[in-house]
Assembly symmetry: C2
Homo-oligomer: 353 residues x 2
């Protein structure tokens, strides 16, 4: 079954291919009378004309495709909302999306970019599944947008979550409830991931602004950022002497918070009565499913994905700041894991017992 092309339509309609092209591409400024227009359209539909985007792209040098190269797609499932957003905008604008995941392999990455360019994509999004500083592969076309990643060298528009602001909101929430001894369960790695560092800075900043001296004993590293790691780390804090034990925990992410819940339960501490907990990520299937539901900070994956694509397609101006980085707000999602500290803790002067 041969594909039917523009020349088949032209033959059947008794006009030239030029006319068919003019009609089908909807160039209204071309002076084609309505009668001809309709005939061409009718015949095209009748004989099942199907356009060939390759030919069109070859000639026009625009393919209406964009490439998304990402380090992973499956490791942090909730981050697929970024991909979803990119794809949504693509569809809305009549674009098709090439998806490549490179597994963070520089060689694969370079080859993928090359392949995407060979396919004449109209633009590239370079995404990471969690906020990172990256050294982009060579050969990225101008206008490439970075998503959940900042290029070490700058020079490209980029969008990342406002981890700092999110942490500030989270810790302020705890302070507002009257907490003074607030633990931080931090992610650990070498070097310290940028998200962890920014959240930690937000944490200490709020403590200082509230007149609380950060207690180094209350900041512990969670080696794997998992629930198991959270159990262990939170356990260390909860086993501190009563006058040092935190009344609230700010957790690097929801998985760690899940571990903190478990550590609290093992010690017969009830959340939020005996211990308040705030997470980060608003990971569906965890945050809302925990008992009690977890107050946490949402990572704006969908919004970031849209932003990246909209900047790429020129639907929205690129940031004009020096580094070209847009910070996307991370809203606090209030659920039920935060309450004022136990009554005997509420005096501003901490006297153990």
């Amino acid at each position: 079954m041969k594909r039917v092309g523009i020349r088949d339509v032209a033959r059947e309609a008794g006009v030239s291919t030029s006319t068919v092209s003019l009609v089908l591409s909807g160039k209204t400024q071309a002076r084609i009378p309505t009668a001809t227009r309709e005939r061409v359209h009718r015949i095209a539909a009748e004989i099942g004309y199907a356009p060939n985007s390759l030919a069109r792209g070859l000639r026009t040098r625009r393919t209406h495709t964009i490439g998304l190269v990402s380090d992973q797609i499956a490791t942090t499932p909730y981050a697929v909302h970024m991909i979803e957003a990119v794809q949504d905008v693509a569809r809305e604008q009549g674009f098709l999306l090439f998806l490549v995941n490179t597994g963070s392999d520089a060689e694969v990455e370079a080859a993928s970019v090359e392949a995407l360019l060979a396919h004449q994509v109209d633009g590239l999004v370079y995404a990471c599944m969690w906020h990172q500083v990256v050294t982009p592969p060579p050969g990225l076309p101008e206008g490439t947008v970075f998503l959940d990643a900042r290029p070490a060298s700058g020079g490209f528009p980029a969008v990342v979550p406002d981890d700092h602001g999110g942490a500030v909101a989270a810790v302020r929430e705890l302070v507002a409830q009257g907490h003074r001894r607030i633990g931080y369960l931090a992610a650990d790695a070498h070097p310290l991931p940028i998200a962890s560092r920014l959240r930690w800075e937000g944490y200490t900043e709020v403590l200082r602004e509230s007149g609380i001296t950060p207690d180094p004993r209350l900041c512990v590293r969670v080696p794997s950022s998992t629930a198991a790691g959270g159990v262990e780390a939170a356990g260390r804090l909860l086993d501190l002497p009563a006058d040092a034990r935190p009344t609230a925990l700010f957790c690097f992410n929801d998985r760690v918070a899940m571990g903190a819940y478990r550590a609290a339960r093992h010690r017969a501490l009830e959340i939020p009565r005996d211990l308040s907990v705030v997470g980060f990520d608003d990971q569906e299937l965890i945050a809302a499913a925990l008992d009690p539901p977890l107050t946490t900070v949402a990572l704006p994956h969908y919004a970031m994905g849209r932003w990246a694509m909209e900047v790429l397609l020129g639907l929205r101006p690129a940031p004009t700041t020096a580094d070209g980085v847009e910070l996307m707000p991370c809203p606090l999602v209030r659920r039920e894991s935060v309450a004022p500290p136990p009554a005997h803790e509420r005096t501003p002067t901490d006297d153990g017992d």
Copy 2:
């Protein structure tokens, strides 16, 4: 900056574009001496030749792209492993992947297929994020492979999880431990999703083969298939009179199992000492993170994704069965939520107390 093409290389190398094409496409049967070959390669690299896949595809009618149209990408995060698998095979074979999610909208679906065909994809994968029977959109090219979905009309190769076999393995595990009163927390919807039906059939089959008469009171529908729904449904079972109360729960999925854990905890039942639980899905971030870790049945998303792509590319023969549906095994993942029933329950004759 003009792109450098084959004719630029030809000019610099002092040969014709035919020769360059012959050399660069690695056609060894063409009689080109090594010296010329090397010169062309060298010059191509020097002046930064970048192939144009559109032009190549236009001529050869093969684009080395494939399209993946899926109903969602983000709702069931763990299922992105299917996309990952498809993408992995694509990369291995030098293909680029178009990703489209349609949100189950038939119109969007049809338009997407059309757009993908316009871009001359070499093949199509039609995927769902959970096992469904679907009526495929019109115009699917022959050879389209269905992933985690069976076309109602047949006629296409398809791969789906062996839900029945998985359920059999799960319930046999419980029976082998000595359980006789095993509850099933089923998914509910209209019509009953095929996965739920198949798992239920596996469940009753094992009961019967073990000489246990299925007790209709022990099968309860969970309206939303979520943790909250699981709490409620499991609660109903656990509040049954002691001589009817199940000693083990087979849950439609891990989220429901999460709810069952919580219901058990509220009743001071310890898992697995007082109640055994088996889930389904092996949803990372839940199954392994629960306390105790959940014994469950894994959904072979990655394997299904690979299978689909390998069949599509002809790397593996399509199934020869009448319906063309491949059942992918769902292995039981043993963790710590299953144990023999409490001692007083172990007598084959059930006497309440």
